[in-house]
């Protein structure tokens, strides 16, 4: 990085920059050398930043009209939908924005898994990402409770009840979380408070996430360390800015389609019924983005072990940089890992599907097999693969993959075209 030799041109700029080096930061961000072979899977970082900002802005606006009270929450949401100017637009952007946020974060995570972006020296970036993901789930869950519909109420009841599985103190913790002896007004007001707080925690962690990223620089589809700056890199501005912008616009088209034409398809109809503690819905299902973990939870017959399994399924990701023993980052050069990667993708999709189905019969059996495989992948397959797998020769640089010790020119070119 060539930050330190940056000097603002104007006198005023120099005076300011000596006292607060904001201009140095701006210069670092624009000049930031980025691998030039990044594909479109790398644009989701920018898209996620957009999602976070969108959620914060629409959320602030909604909070001006929303009333966090068990008797008035549902009505105030209808007030937003009917009487607030463009309230329907803001709420639908916020509600669908949560789904879009998770869609983007899953792509972002699976991109990282495919190209080994979590490996040394990027472990801290990865762990920060996992914490952000956990906070996103907490924020999304509490946000879903706020409209105080049937699914809000019963979802909150089911999820908070998970804590009762903790031996000895479980029941006490649940009462403490609820602020009473059932999910009620105190639960709603504290969920609202936390739902308001968490996005700003996420924002802070995102700054750290990007800061940590800018130390080693981006990984890339070839997964090799590159010299920066060099002919393997381009400056962030304008090259990556315009590319991220282009990808973001395409993402926004999908986003807009949901908001304007099918705004309720990702939600559950029961949440348009006002919360009623006396009536339990036929099926209590979480939002789609939590379904794989819901399936893992339900696949274990014991409540405590189920909760442990569900939490482990997320926390195991934090240990990934050490569970994956392979020195090669990119799956492009790991023929076996590549196959297991796609099996894992299928496994998670299957878990999501059975998570939406009733936990009985064949669905339960599938959920159990898929849960077992999920842990097998991380605890057995990944560590063993690093020792057993015969990886393909890795090029020395992005621009000259052919010179990278590859035995066959044609094979190298073929691989290069695949990377692109």
């Amino acid at each position: 990085m060539s930050d330190h030799d940056y000097k603002p041109k104007s006198k005023v700029g120099q005076w300011f920059n000596d006292r607060l080096p904001l201009l140095t930061l701006a210069n670092h961000l624009t000049d930031y050398p980025t691998p030039k072979n990044l594909n479109y899977w790398w644009t989701f970082g920018g898209i996620l930043t957009f999602c976070l900002i969108t959620q914060i802005i629409t959320g602030l606006t909604l909070a001006m009209h929303y009333i966090a009270h068990a008797d008035m929450a549902f009505e105030s949401v209808e007030h937003i939908m009917r009487d607030v100017n463009y309230g329907w637009l803001i709420r639908y952007i916020h509600a669908n924005g949560a789904s879009m946020f998770f869609l983007a974060v899953y792509i972002h995570i699976f991109r990282s898994l495919f190209y080994g972006s979590y490996k040394s020296p990027r472990e801290i970036i990865w762990i920060l990402g996992i914490i952000i993901y956990l906070l996103m789930m907490a924020a999304a869950f509490m946000g879903y409770v706020l409209p105080w519909g049937q699914m809000s109420f019963w979802g909150a009841t089911v999820i908070t009840n998970l804590f009762s599985a903790i031996p000895l103190v479980g029941e006490g913790i649940v009462t403490w979380l609820w602020g009473g002896y059932s999910v009620d007004n105190p639960t709603l007001t504290r969920f609202f408070t936390l739902h308001y707080l968490i996005p700003f925690l996420i924002l802070g962690l995102v700054v750290l996430h990007i800061w940590a990223l800018h130390v080693p620089g981006n990984n890339n589809p070839v997964g090799i360390d590159i010299k920066k700056p060099s002919k393997d890199t381009v400056p962030f501005h304008p090259y990556i800015v315009i590319k991220d912008g282009f990808a973001l616009l395409m993402f926004m088209i999908v986003f807009a389609f949901f908001v304007f034409y099918t705004p309720n398809i990702l939600g559950h109809a029961d949440n348009y019924i006002e919360a009623n503690p006396m009536v339990t819905p036929a099926h209590i299902v979480p939002e789609w983005y939590l379904l794989p973990f819901y399936a893992i939870l339900r696949s274990v017959p014991d409540k405590l072990l189920g909760v442990v399994a569900m939490l482990s399924a997320i926390l195991i990701l934090a240990a990934l940089p050490w569970l994956d023993t392979s020195k090669i980052r990119s799956a492009v050069f790991r023929p076996l890992y590549k196959q297991f990667y796609w099996i894992l993708v299928a496994d998670v999709l299957i878990l999501g599907y059975v998570g939406a189905m009733p936990a009985e019969g064949l669905y339960l059996l599938i959920a159990r097999v898929a849960t077992a495989y999920y842990f097998l992948h991380f605890l057995v397959i990944l560590p063993v693969l690093g020792f057993k797998e015969r990886t393909l020769p890795v090029p020395l640089s992005i621009t000259e993959p052919i010179l990278g010790g590859s035995p066959s020119l044609a094979a190298a070119r073929h691989r290069e075209s695949k990377i692109k």
Binding site: N37, Y239, F260
Partner: protein
Amino acid sequence: MKKLFKLILILSFFSLNFAQTFAAEKVEYLKTDWSFKGLFGKFDRAALQRGYQVYTEVCASCHSMKYLSYRNLSEEGGPEFSLAAAKAIAASFEVTDGPNADGEMFTRPGKLSDKFVMPYDNVKAAQAANGGAYPPDMSVLVKARGGGVDYIYSLLQGYEDPPSGVTLDDGVYYNKYMYGNKIRMAAPLSDGIVDYGDGTNASVEQMSKDVTTFLMWAAEPHLEARHQMGFKAIVYLIILTILVYFSMKKIWSRVESEV
């Protein structure tokens, strides 16, 4: 560019996949052509007005619609009654107001700003009058049922004699679209139960369609504005995306790398 298409394909697969998970319904609902579906979908104004008539004359005796105001009836994108007509509709209802200077509650004719008058004072009163079953509020009913408008439309026409072997308690009716097939509401519609002012034949099918259209508007009063804005927004985004694509190509032509 090929990769982009792949990306879009995968994105749409994701969304469709999850959508289908929830949309999966076992019963085949009756289908009709809804004017409000599709990119340019708008409400059929006459159907909304007829639907309002069915609602007030049939449904409103048991079902409240507490989130709607009488002013909504004359607002753009709805039944669009004239202001005078909406005022007259509001005035035909007795609204409890107060307390006045003497501390007494009093009744007065409804105003445009009033919410729709509820048939019962509270949920308990509604249950007491309906054999223990609460007639749900209709403000967001179509959004609160899995099958949406198709479900409501079918339910209204789904009454039939119970198949042999099914015994029904007193005050319980058989409906082939109802969850569990048992419903506490008697068939609300019968041919000619309302007298349409515009001469439309008030068949059960026609009334079902009209009142369901009205309920859709009640649940989504800004649907037309949403569709119009959505079309503009998406066209704008597509044009901008194309422009940005060519700018990107131009900028990246400076380096020897494909984008």
